[in-house]
């Protein structure tokens, strides 16, 4: 029994595995975007940041262990850190550009998608072929079951756990701390923030940079955990989906967590169903995340009220 196929149980298990495995990039990018948008700016460029993070983490992890003599246990973690820093650099460019007078942050964001992915592809050319050391897993499944499928599904990355912990922490940060209040004030009512004596530019600059740091770490997860490889199709639009996800989560970090888990899980629906032999409508299953998003958007939207929870200054071009 144990070594045999698990049949239809493979579907929920596959979805669970997909949830635990591939929701972290969504989580990090959406938390980063949430922070950015709370301060009243949109950073669409996180797709580029995600790719840049994936590339730099993979590159550092590979170079560190192969060329610079670091231990293969340490170099992926340094890769994660460098990915975050690479994200911060892109974030700084976005923050600086989008706060120039009469500059539209969405336009800058689109430019940053192209710039970030272009730089990542250019610098990443030599790293497509080599194999970089990967981040370790917590083997939770090994304690609970001896079915290999379950063991594999319950391999949990520490990076994912950090992301899960970060969501409530960020929620608390916004609600109960002074800097959190400043960020909300800058995002909701810049004039009030100015009256409080808070520098709008500085707050936004810091928020965008910190948000991009998180997105960079999301990229590191892609290349060092799952799928664990660097190539030019690695993000497949996850950065952009995560930005949309923030709206879906109503700018609430804890809801960002649920939304990310949901997206990660639905991504696995197509492959899991095909593996048990449900093979009609492949393309429909592969489109499941988008279909479900549309459905939920339709169910939750209402013509009578505007989006609740949206920061007041979002989308306005004010100093």
């Amino acid at each position: 029994m144990a070594a045999e196929a698990i049949g239809w149980w493979g579907v929920p298990l596959g979805i669970l595995a997909g949830t635990l495995r591939s929701s972290a990039p969504f989580l990090f990018v959406s938390l980063g975007e949430c922070l950015t948008e709370k301060s009243g700016k949109i950073n669409l460029g996180l797709e580029g940041t995600l790719l840049m993070g994936a590339m730099s983490a993979y590159a550092i992890s590979y170079l560190g262990s192969e060329k610079w003599g670091m231990s293969p246990a340490a170099s992926p973690w340094i890769g994660v850190l460098v990915a975050g820093c690479a994200g911060m650099v892109l974030g700084f460019i976005h923050a600086w550009l989008s706060q120039q007078p009469k500059v539209n942050d969405i336009a800058v964001g689109i430019a940053m998608i192209i710039f970030g992915s272009g730089v990542a592809f250019f610098l990443g050319k030599p790293f497509i072929q080599p194999q970089a050391p990967q981040l370790p897993f917590f083997e939770l499944g090994r304690l609970m079951s001896n079915v290999p499928a379950v063991q594999s599904a319950l391999q949990i990355s520490p990076l994912f756990l950090i992301g899960v912990g970060l969501a409530p922490l960020m929620s608390w940060f916004f609600k109960s701390t002074r800097p959190g209040l400043f960020i909300r004030a800058v995002g909701d009512s810049p004039d009030a923030a100015l009256a409080m004596g808070v520098s709008i530019k500085k707050v936004r600059m810091l928020c965008i940079i910190a948000g991009s740091f998180l997105a960079g770490i999301g990229g590191a997860y892609l290349s060092l955990v799952s799928p664990g490889s660097w190539n030019e199709g690695i993000s497949s639009g996850q950065g952009l989906m995560a930005v949309a996800l923030v709206i879906f989560a109503r700018w609430n970090p804890v809801q960002c967590l649920w939304a990310s888990l949901f997206f990660g899980g639905t991504q696995a629906v197509g492959p899991a169903l095909q593996a048990v032999g449900v093979d009609s409508g492949i393309y429909l299953f592969n489109a499941a995340p988008y279909v479900l998003t549309l459905l939920i958007m339709i169910i939750t939207c209402s013509p009578k009220r505007t989006l609740s929870g949206a920061p007041g200054a979002l989308g306005t071009i004010s100093g």
């Binding site: 070594a3 045999e4 196929a5 698990i6 049949g7 493979g10 298990l13 596959g14 595995a17 997909g18 495995r21 591939s22 592809f121 050319k125 030599p126 497509i128 072929q129 194999q131 290999p148 499928a149 594999s152 599904a153 799952s226 799928p227 664990g228 490889s229 190539n231 030019e232 199709g233 690695i234 497949s236 996850q238 991504q267 696995a268 197509g270 492959p271 899991a272 095909q274 593996a275 048990v276 032999g277 093979d279 009609s280 409508g281 492949i282 393309y283 592969n286």
Partner: protein, 398 residues
Amino acid sequence: MRNIRSIYVPRRQVIRGLLATAAFGATSKLWTGCSSDSATSNSTTESGSGTGSSDQPLVLGFLYVGAKDDYGWSQAHALGVKEIGNLPGVKIVEQASVPETKDVQEVMRSMIDEDGATAIFPTSFGYFKPHILEMAKQYPAVQFFHCSTLWEAGMPENIGNYYADTDEGQFVAGRVAAQTTKTGKLGFVAAKPVNPVIRNINSFIMGARSVKPDVKIQVIFTGDWLEPVKEEQATNSLADQGVDVIGVHVDSPKVVIETAEKRKIFSSGYHADQTDLAPKGYLTGTTFYWAEFYKNYVDMIKAGKKVMDGSIPRVIQGSMKEKYIKLAPFGPAVSEAAKKDAEDAEAKIADGSLLVYTGEIKDNTGKVRIPKGTAYKMTDPVLDKIDWLAEGVQGSVS
């Protein structure tokens, strides 16, 4: 205040706007205006080089859809190109990661206009229509060689095709897989249900069932050529279902092979040799050896032959016999008996006594698709019409 301001347009702004428009016009003229005059200028240089001077190097342009070291389709081509790059009197112009959009045309144009390429090899399937057709019309003196068998009568005469059929390689790899599997369940991660992919799945299972008739294969289509996240999930889902050998046909099999190795199951590769990615679980794989084609083309073009007048064949096609297709070195999990069997099968295929498509072949709904007594050679155009999955495949093409 505001109204007045918007009516009054500052002089500086006007000058700046005019300059920007002029700059835009100057640069964009290169793109739109050259279609007619550069085609003529190119045909003159072409005729000049064709008549006499052989001291000029032969310039060949190569375009890849992916990176040159992606362990996949593009790497296989780039390896072949590397071998001809060392030949005397040959200059290679390469560009990797060219998307199957209008960009292809611009890259080809610049290779012809700027670098003086006289033969272009766009290696990706999707470059053909409409991009190559369009460029071939615009540059009638340049030869285009596309890696497919898509040319049909009525299309520009300066397009040639070359292709290596992988069915025979997949057939032998399937035999190896069947002799290695313990569960009798194979898996296949495929990109899209199109003819070359379907044929590879079919010949893989037909090879496997020629050893063990009860072997089954579960196919997962990811929907596109490069979908790393889905490829990983597909491989994991297959492993969850007790599959212990995974075949693959996506643009870059790296993620699938690595994931299979992580799950401690076997994998059978495609495009290029992936032994390094899975030192334990890699069985073998169908690999292309494009260098054979490219050497051949260099010789023919240097001898002044042209596809336009028929001195270069319209389609050059081959497979294992011509050494266009080889099996990757066997991994440690392949038994001695299986190795011997694979070598025998290869020899039989090479001398023509074993044809992959020999009836009776049924599809996976039980319908007879190739009747008893009928056998098709690899180059038979009937095979390009295959849109059904063979018996033993669990999956569907729609």
